[in-house]
């Protein structure tokens, strides 16, 4: 077992890549994730593990380098922050269409446009609803600690290769820049050429031997029928991913009457808000999606049995909240609270928002109870008259 180290979130991504046997990283500088490229160039793993590190001329080039390397059956990684991820979307769509395994990191900053370099969570839609063109899904992992930044790189590659699907690690500027203790793993050697051929020989391009047909990596079907069939196949795969790869975490949910739904940095802030609320006697809980696709729809729906209302807390104007609403299906009130444009909400602000929601729900409940009591009294009065 490796050592314990104090690391920045971005460095953890880089170190994890070197140690999990990643073959190549292609990236382009952008705040707040440039440390990934800086750390990797400083470590220069090409001299140790043989991992390639290359500063590309743009995010577009970087994602297409990932395409090329991934289509060789290699573990390829890229990272960026929001504006750069927008540029990568065409490439990500091609990677999804051609069913290539790859890991993409988005250390989100505030937008739209050039926006701000401060942390944000306003790329949720872009991450889980497509982003690029066509019907496709990414597996989206949302770390909320530096340890998870580290762990999700290996997990990302495992999932990417299991499903031959791009995996997005949706981080944010706060986790990327934050320093925490990280349990470092031992080095996993990169796959040898023989292992790669053995594992990916049925689809990847290694140079055609006499023994097989030529492998072609493409996302093109000129005819609509095979393209529809390909889409069916992709949809079946996404269903399988939904069935098998859901990850989430519950925090004080057993007796919670009011439930936060939050991922990443917001989920940590909600934990603090829960602590403050519980001190006041409020029964608060948190459901934290760790995978954003797949999304814990059923778990949120189940929570409606006990919970009276949900508050989606995001550093955005309200994106994930739509998926919470879809899961709750109108059975309970679902509200959104967020600071955005690079602002991070304080736990007491979050608690305040929850208390407002609670007050509204309780007022409604009281009214309902009053109405009920009134009706009952009227009924009784009628009875007595008769």
């Amino acid at each position: 077992m490796g050592e314990l180290r104090l690391m920045k979130g971005n460095e953890a991504i880089a170190e994890a890549a070197i140690r999990c046997g990643c073959d190549a990283y292609f990236g382009y500088p952008i705040t707040p994730q440039s440390e990934i490229l800086e750390y990797l160039t400083l470590q220069n793993p090409e001299k140790t593990t043989g991992m390639v590190v290359l500063q590309a001329e743009s995010e577009i080039a970087a994602i297409n380098m990932v395409y090329g390397a991934a289509a060789c059956g290699k573990k390829a990684l890229t990272s960026s922050s929001s504006p750069g991820i927008s540029l990568k979307q065409e490439g990500i769509s091609y990677i999804a269409g051609a069913e290539l395994p790859a890991v993409i990191v988005n250390v989100v900053r505030g937008g739209p446009g050039l926006g701000t370099i401060q942390p944000s969570q306003s790329d949720y839609f872009q991450s889980v609803k497509g982003g690029g063109h066509g019907d496709y899904k990414l597996i989206v992992l949302a770390p909320n600690s530096v340890q998870e930044q580290y762990d999700f790189v290996k997990l990302g590659f495992d999932l990417a290769f299991k499903y031959r699907n791009p995996v997005l690690i949706l981080s944010d500027g706060a986790i990327g820049q934050m320093m925490e203790k990280v349990q470092i793993s031992d080095f996993t050697p990169r796959w040898t050429e023989e292992e790669i051929v053995q594992m990916t020989g049925s689809w990847a391009t290694h140079g055609k031997p006499e023994t097989r047909k030529h492998n072609i990596v493409t996302s093109l079907n000129l005819q609509p029928e095979p393209q529809e069939e390909h889409n069916h196949h992709l949809q079946r795969k996404y269903k399988e991913i939904e069935d098998n790869e859901l990850r989430y975490e519950k925090f004080f949910c057993e007796d919670a009457e009011y439930v936060f739904v939050a991922y990443g940095t917001s989920s940590r802030l909600c934990q603090k808000a829960i602590q403050l609320g519980r001190e006041k006697g409020l029964k608060l809980g948190l459901l934290r999606p760790i995978t954003l696709f797949p999304f814990p729809k059923k778990q949120i729906k189940m929570a409606t049995k006990k919970a009276k209302a949900f508050l989606a807390v995001e550093m955005s104007a309200g994106q994930m909240v739509e998926d919470v609403q879809l899961a709750v299906k109108g059975k309970r009130p679902v509200k959104h609270f967020g600071r955005y444009g690079g602002m991070i909400p304080m736990p007491d602000e979050i608690l305040e928002a929850m208390e407002e929601l609670i007050a509204k729900v309780e007022k409604k409940e009281a009214k309902k109870a009053q109405k009920k009591a009134k009706k009952k009294a009227e009924k009784e009065a009628k009875k007595q008259k008769n």
């Binding site: 073959d23 190549a24 292609f26 390639v52 290359l54 590309a56 001329e57 743009s58 577009i60 080039a61 970087a62 297409n64 380098m65 990932v66 395409y67 090329g68 390397a69 991934a70 289509a71 060789c72 290699k74 390829a76 065409e90 490439g91 091609y94 051609a98 391009t205 290694h206 140079g207 055609k208 031997p209 006499e210 030529h214 492998n215 072609i216 990596v217 493409t218 996302s219 093109l220 000129l222």
Partner: protein
């Protein structure tokens, strides 16, 4: 003694036949299109060098998007213009393999200019085949960066006006300036002697990859009969008369 044709047509007398690195699929190209000859030459060289198991090609978006259906080697299809970046990714993780891109002028000289220039500038150990037909063939004959002055296309219907639409771009001259480029040449495939010269250049390019010399950039000035609205033989004559003065044939570097 008169000899019958059947006496000549015998296996032992065969001097030219299709390389086995071309599949049996009929090319999707228009009659007379130079893409076919370019495909064949590249495949012949790979076969002759015996490197098929070490070669990976990258197809572009353009008429030759389906090159992977015709070339019986491992291939990837790249997004429009991004083939040099894709090839970079391949070559970096497989430094001992032969990696080439095959791109049109819209793909390489318009949308993919940045990828082209930087792959060349980094000196990636790859070959870039650049099929310059002065037009966007696949999308129905729109103006390309390489379209000649006065040339009519569907988006320069009155002829390319230099003031309005700018000048034809000479990519091979541009990339020849870059230190990462070892070999830059402009060739054609419309006559037997042009084909022989091009094949020599292609061989040299693959040798360069073997010796890790950086980028070999081979432009092939070619026809687009459909886009130019000329019969194939006429198109080749037009190409000699009008394309070659702007895009002169020959080695530019290396």
């Amino acid at each position: 003694m008169s000899i019958s044709i059947q006496d000549i047509i015998k296996e032992e007398n065969k001097v030219f036949s299709k390389t086995k690195l071309l599949t049996d699929k009929v090319f999707s190209y228009c009659p007379g299109c130079g893409h076919g000859v370019a495909h064949r030459i590249i495949m012949e060289v790979i076969e002759e060098m015996g490197i098929v198991n070490q070669t990976i090609g990258v197809a572009p978006v353009g008429c030759s998007v389906l090159a992977y259906d015709f070339m019986d080697i491992d291939m990837q299809q790249a997004a429009h213009g991004r083939a040099p970046a894709v090839a970079t990714g391949i070559s970096r993780v497989f430094p001992d393999k032969y990696v080439f891109t095959y791109q049109g002028d819209g793909d390489l000289a318009a949308i993919g200019t940045a990828e082209t220039i930087h792959a060349c500038s980094r000196g990636e150990n790859i070959i870039i085949f650049f099929i310059n037909n002065g037009i966007y063939g696949m999308t129905g004959g729109q103006m390309a960066p390489t379209t000649l002055e006065g040339m009519k296309t569907s988006t320069s219907p009155h002829g390319r006006d230099l003031h309005q639409m700018g000048f034809p771009i000479k990519m091979t001259e541009i990339v020849a300036q870059l230190d990462g480029v070892q070999f830059a040449t402009r060739q054609a495939v419309h006559t037997p002697s042009a084909v022989r010269k091009t094949k020599k250049a292609v061989k040299k390019a693959f040798e360069n990859v073997k010796n890790k010399k950086g980028v070999s950039f081979i432009e092939i000035v070619s026809n687009c009969n459909s886009g130019w609205k000329l019969a194939p033989v006429k198109a080749n004559e037009w190409m000699e008369e009008f394309m070659f003065p702007v895009y002169p044939i020959g080695d530019i570097k290396g």
